[in-house]
């Protein structure tokens, strides 16, 4: 493994710029966004040059490390602040800095009217730094720092308009749900240390074959909990919908393309744990399948365009998590879907942002309609992303999603049928709700009020959208051409070959099947949403009602966690005051009561004191006499 001295700049530059923009304050208002964008673009430049450098090396030398300093060294726990750039992390570096830069550019225009634009860009740069640390850290602990860092960035950006209490609550909810996931990651780190005496990836990888299955399963389960928190997977998914409170570029970058996929990165990075524990893999695929259906169902009933897209993100990440649980061959497909998803979902979010920009921040799709004519570029770029997520050939999703469905079927037996069937079902629902979004927004009759004047956005906004749309078209083909990504990732994830062992169905059959269900879902949506009422109908089926309420996840959390927690807190406060402090005050009370009684003796008359003294001396003398005699 070679060493590189440039890796640190990937993190240091955006971190420094972020700190600078925050510390300088209003002085930097004029040029803050330019600096941040420039820094983001230069990290992309560094990423590309590192990528090129990797190509000039072969074998084990492709990966590069950089040790910065000794961070924590106590007893046999030794953690260096050091970075690792390998075939897996470079994918993320390019995605984060590439999409990140596009979104910086987009935000210049999108946040133009906000007087806190500089602060927004400072947060964005901070996010880039933290996310890069997450994917570049060479140990679980370094990863953890980035992991919490992106959580903080997400919190700050969701609550960017925190003067609105609803947004402030959404930010808090995201942070707390993430913290539950972080608990999983902390425990995974602790178990790793207790088992292997190290927390570095290489150390754990080397030790994994010697560990007991129970320990590996425990680590796997805890990593999965961490992934569920960060990637909005069941049962910690409820924060993602609320997180749409943040400005739309944030939703595109953090809550679609990069941060929420960190869970997929974590599981792929820990492939040596999951490969060794089939129980952990079963947990992973279960979570993936539940979430991909869960998100898809929720997506069908959302009228808020961003929340519909958020539900879709949840569902798509469910696909990725499912893929990571399918054994060595699945990791590469998960990463491929992650990359293509990064393009098309970010593109669609930016499209949604463009629509909102033109519609005075209206998010209700029932008040859109017929926007394609007025916003042609937005409509086309959104449409390309739409085709990609549906998996229509030859768009990106076709290559990545079909592979996942195929691999799921190839698990064989009942398991294969269930997983593959669920993935197919998910594809159908995806086609339904995405078509619904497109139809409600861009097609049909106009339903907006006369006051608003929908218009196409400036080039700063549609430029990035076009680039992302091109990515949604071509990335799938490029990544799967000659199994390029699979081969690229081979040294990290040990995928034996691209197709896996047994084949339940020929790839062609799977593709045709997938295409058929997609047409079914999309067709139904087109028919159903030809006309839509402007106000959501109240008389709807139980399923729609449930989907509108996120399948009662919040209701459940409130009833099971929040309410009892509140009652417990109130109870403990009362206990502390009445029982524990009460006991102390009781002792005080007893003493004061006894004193009250004894006080009566002190009547203030000298002679009674003197008499007491005399009697005391007399008694003393008698005792002395008795004792000595």
């Amino acid at each position: 493994m070679r060493t590189s001295s440039h890796l640190v700049y990937l993190i240091a530059l955006p971190l420094f710029s972020s700190a600078l923009l925050l510390l300088l304050g209003r002085i930097a208002d004029k040029w803050g966004h330019l600096l941040a964008t420039l820094v983001s673009a230069s990290t992309f430049g560094i990423g590309v040059s590192e990528f090129v450098a990797m190509h000039s090396h072969t074998g084990a030398n492709r990966a590069a490390t950089q040790k910065l300093f000794e961070w924590i060294s106590v007893g046999n726990l030794k953690v260096d602040a050091s970075l690792l750039l390998d075939q897996l992390s470079i994918c993320f570096v390019l995605l984060i800095t590439g999409v990140g830069t596009l979104i910086h550019i987009y935000s210049i225009a999108y946040m133009d009217h906000d007087k806190d634009r500089r602060r927004f860009f400072a947060y964005l740069n901070f996010f880039i730094a933290a996310m890069l640390l997450l994917v570049l850290g060479d140990s679980y602990l370094n990863l953890y720092v980035g992991w919490e860092g992106v959580g903080l960035a997400s919190y700050l950006l969701i609550g960017f308009w925190n003067q609105n209490p609803v947004y402030a609550v959404a930010a808090k909810k995201a942070f707390v749900a993430n913290r539950v996931g972080d608990l999983g990651l902390s425990l995974a780190i602790m178990i790793s240390f207790a088992q292997f005496g190290t927390v570095s990836f290489t150390g754990v990888k080397a030790g994994a074959p010697h560990a007991s299955p129970a320990a590996l399963t425990a680590i796997g389960a805890m990593l999965l909990l961490a992934a569920a928190g960060k990637s909005a997977q069941f049962p910690l998914q409820s924060w993602l919908g609320d997180a749409m409170a943040g400005p739309t570029p944030v939703s595109a970058l953090i809550h679609a393309a990069t941060m929420v996929t960190a869970g997929v990165y974590l599981i792929t990075r820990s492939n040596f744990i999951f490969d060794a524990s089939s129980t952990a893999r079963i947990l992973v695929v279960s979570v993936g399948v539940i979430t991909l259906l869960f998100g898809a169902i929720v997506g069908t009933a959302k009228d808020d365009i961003k929340k519909a897209l958020a539900a879709s993100t949840m569902s798509q990440i469910g696909y990725m998590i499912l893929a990571t649980g399918l054994g060595p061959v699945g990791y590469a497909f998960a990463i491929m879907h992650l990359l293509t998803h990064g393009f098309f979902k970010a593109g669609m979010f930016l499209g949604a942002g463009s629509v909102m920009h033109g519609m005075d921040d209206e998010v209700n799709m029932r008040k859109y309609g017929g926007l394609a004519k007025l916003m042609p570029i937005t409509a086309v770029t959104f449409g390309l992303g739409y085709l990609a997520i549906l998996g229509v050939p030859p768009f990106a999703g076709f290559y990545s999603k079909d592979k996942i469905i195929e691999t799921a079927f190839n698990q064989g037996g009942g398991k294969g049928i269930i997983l593959g069937g669920a993935a197919l079902l998910g594809a159908m629902i995806t086609a339904f709700y995405m078509t619904r979004v497109v139809v409600l927004t861009f097609a049909g009759a106009r339903r907006w009020k006369d006051g608003s004047h929908p218009h196409e956005s400036s080039v700063l906004m549609w430029g990035p959208m076009v680039i992302l749309a091109l990515g949604s078209v071509a990335s799938g083909f490029l990544l799967s051409m000659g199994s390029s990504l699979v081969n690229w990732l081979q040294p990290v994830v040990n995928a034996s070959n691209a197709t896996g062992g047994k084949e339940l169905m020929k790839p062609l059959v799977v593709s045709l099947l997938a295409l058929a269900v997609v047409i079914l879902g999309a067709g139904y949506a087109i028919v159903k949403y030809r006309t839509v009422p402007e106000i959501a109908p109240e008389q709807v089926s139980v399923f729609t009602k449930a989907a509108r309420k996120d399948l009662y996840q919040d209701v459940f959390n409130n009833a099971v966690l929040v309410k009892p927690g509140t009652i417990l807190t109130a109870g403990l406060v009362a206990t502390d005051h009445n029982v524990i402090d009460g006991a102390v005050r009781f002792v005080g009370w007893v003493i004061s009561e006894v004193s009250d009684v004894l006080r009566k003796i002190q009547n203030g008359y000298v002679r009674s004191y003197a008499l007491t003294m005399l009697v005391g001396v007399f008694i003393g003398a008698v005792i002395l006499w008795v004792v000595t005699a």
């Binding site: 300093f69 961070w71 007893g75 046999n76 726990l77 539950v180 425990l187 602790m190 088992q195």
Partner: protein, 501 residues
């Protein structure tokens, strides 16, 4: 003169200077106090040049006979544990003076008295950590109560007299138990040679199990009250509510560390067998503290009580680390003491400024401060992030070390303790949301942002939090030899990794 003795005496010199200063000239009085504390800080930093790193045992040792009959000495010296805590003290005192520049003016007594008390307290605190004679330690342990009693009772708010009395009674009760144990260990030492109060000599005594248990409890309960550990904690919220921010910082940031300091210095070193016997029970209590303190913090309506309960939770972590008896646990706990000092200082400083401006300590009265006072809000936010141990800030390193150190020996305890990090997120973020976010509350429109003096006071704290978060090595480097020594004295070693390589 020995630098350590100099550091102890310097604040008293400042007190003499204060005594001759004119009573009305409050500015001169404050400047004298500030100057003294800065000189003391420099003197304590100079100790670093004389200190040999990586060496265990006491350094900069001085000993003068005090009571010959009982072989009591004025014996002082520092090791890693004492050094970091002395530095914490000398760094925090100037910050407290600058940060609470005007908090002395509504007291029952003069401004002069306030600063004299602060400086006397500084002498006692440094002396307490430096004492290597158990009797000297005990005397200062009790003597420290006097300035704190007057600081709370004379310069606080609200029900200050009652709070001061409660603090005094609790501490006196603990001190009494400790006195019994101090006498007890002297008697034991008399049986095994010339009687002694010297810590190093005492640590070589052979004490029977039964005696160890009783002596251990005497010390431990005194320290648990000071620390404070559940269920001995009820004096703390009242004291924090009533004391001035500066006093709260000194009490929670430094004075309470005497408890956890004593647990390492006396409980673990002098009574290793008893420590092992009681460790499981203490760990249960510390877990109780962590969870209970966090829940109570969530339920508080008063800003100062909330901070006090977060401290109870954090002290739970420190005690958990100490009694896990692994090198990560003890080093982490010691580092935690320092970080908690800074973290609490930041919370109380900014919280104090918020309360002073709003003239209310009810969290519900704040709201929307982020918009009108961005610098103050940011400082408070960073302090809050440090309280929830965000990676990148120093408290993360220590909390992580404590938890991982506990996990290798008591996995279940570490798992329960880890729940504390979720609860920490709750109490910090609920507070941040209510106080800083949301629409501007009525009555908050004219709240000014931090002035230059206040920025100057908070900056070093935040720098310390960030620096030690990224580069804790210097602190760990000082602490580590002490940890190895304590582990060796208690004949404990770290559990080995379970999976063979």
């Amino acid at each position: 003169m020995n630098l350590l003795t100099l550091t102890i005496i310097l604040p008293l010199v400042g007190v003499l200077a204060l005594a001759v200063a004119p009573r009305e000239n409050t500015k001169a009085i404050k400047l004298i106090a500030l100057f003294t504390s800065v000189i003391t800080l420099i003197s304590s930093l100079l100790m670093l040049t004389k200190y040999k790193f990586g060496v265990s045992g006491f350094q900069l040792v001085t000993s003068h006979s005090w009571f010959k009959v009982f072989n009591i000495n004025y014996a002082i010296g520092i090791d890693g544990l004492a050094l970091v805590l002395i530095l914490l003290t000398t760094v925090l005192v100037p910050i407290v003076i600058v940060g609470g520049w005007n908090e002395s003016e509504n007291g029952r007594w003069s401004v002069k008295t306030f600063y004299a008390l602060i400086l006397i307290l500084e002498t006692f605190m440094v002396g307490e950590f430096a004492a290597t004679d158990v009797f000297l330690f005990y005397v200062i342990f009790e003597a420290m109560l006097i300035p704190v009693y007057f600081l709370i009772g004379g310069f606080g708010r609200g029900d200050r007299a009652a709070a001061a009395l409660k603090f005094l009674l609790y501490s006196l009760f603990g001190g009494l138990l400790m006195l019994a144990a101090v006498i007890g260990i002297f008697v034991v030492s008399l049986h095994q040679g010339p009687g002694s109060f010297d810590v190093t000599t005492l640590s070589h005594l052979k004490i029977s199990h039964n005696t160890q248990d009783w002596l251990f409890l005497g010390f431990f309960i005194a320290f648990a009250i000071k620390a404070p550990l559940f269920p001995f904690h009820t004096w703390l919220p009242g004291a924090a509510r009533s004391a001035t921010p500066g006093t709260s910082i000194l009490v929670l940031g430094v004075l309470d560390k005497v408890g956890t300091y004593g647990m390492i210095r006396f409980c673990l070193t002098l009574f290793p067998e008893a420590s092992k016997t009681f460790a499981p029970y203490i760990i249960v209590l510390s877990l109780f503290s962590i969870i209970y303190g966090a829940f109570l913090a969530i339920g508080q309506k008063d800003l100062n009580s909330l901070i006090a309960f977060t401290s109870i939770s954090h002290f739970g972590f420190i005690i958990l680390g100490i009694f896990a008896m692994t090198s990560q646990g003890i080093t982490g706990a010691t580092l935690y003491m320092v970080n908690h000092g800074f973290s609490t200082a930041a919370l109380f400083l900014v919280g104090g400024w918020m309360i002073q401006r709003r003239k209310s300590s009810q969290i519900a009265d704040f709201g929307g401060l982020q918009r009108i006072t961005p610098v103050m809000a940011w400082c408070f936010f960073i302090a809050g992030m440090s309280a929830l141990a965000l990676p990148g800030l120093s408290s993360f390193v220590s909390e992580f070390l404590v938890l991982i150190g506990t996990f290798t020996r008591y996995p279940a305890a570490a798992v329960i303790g880890t729940v504390g990090i979720v609860l920490a997120a709750l109490y910090v973020l609920i507070l941040v949301q209510r106080a800083l976010h949301g629409p501007l509350q009525e009555g908050n429109e004219d709240i000014p942002d931090l002035n230059r003096r206040e920025k100057f006071a908070i900056a070093p704290v935040i720098i310390a939090l960030v620096f030690l978060g990224f580069y804790p090595k210097p602190a760990i480097h000082i602490i580590d030899p002490m940890t190895s020594q304590v582990m060796a004295q208690a004949s404990m070693s770290d559990p080995t990794p379970l999976a063979g390589k």
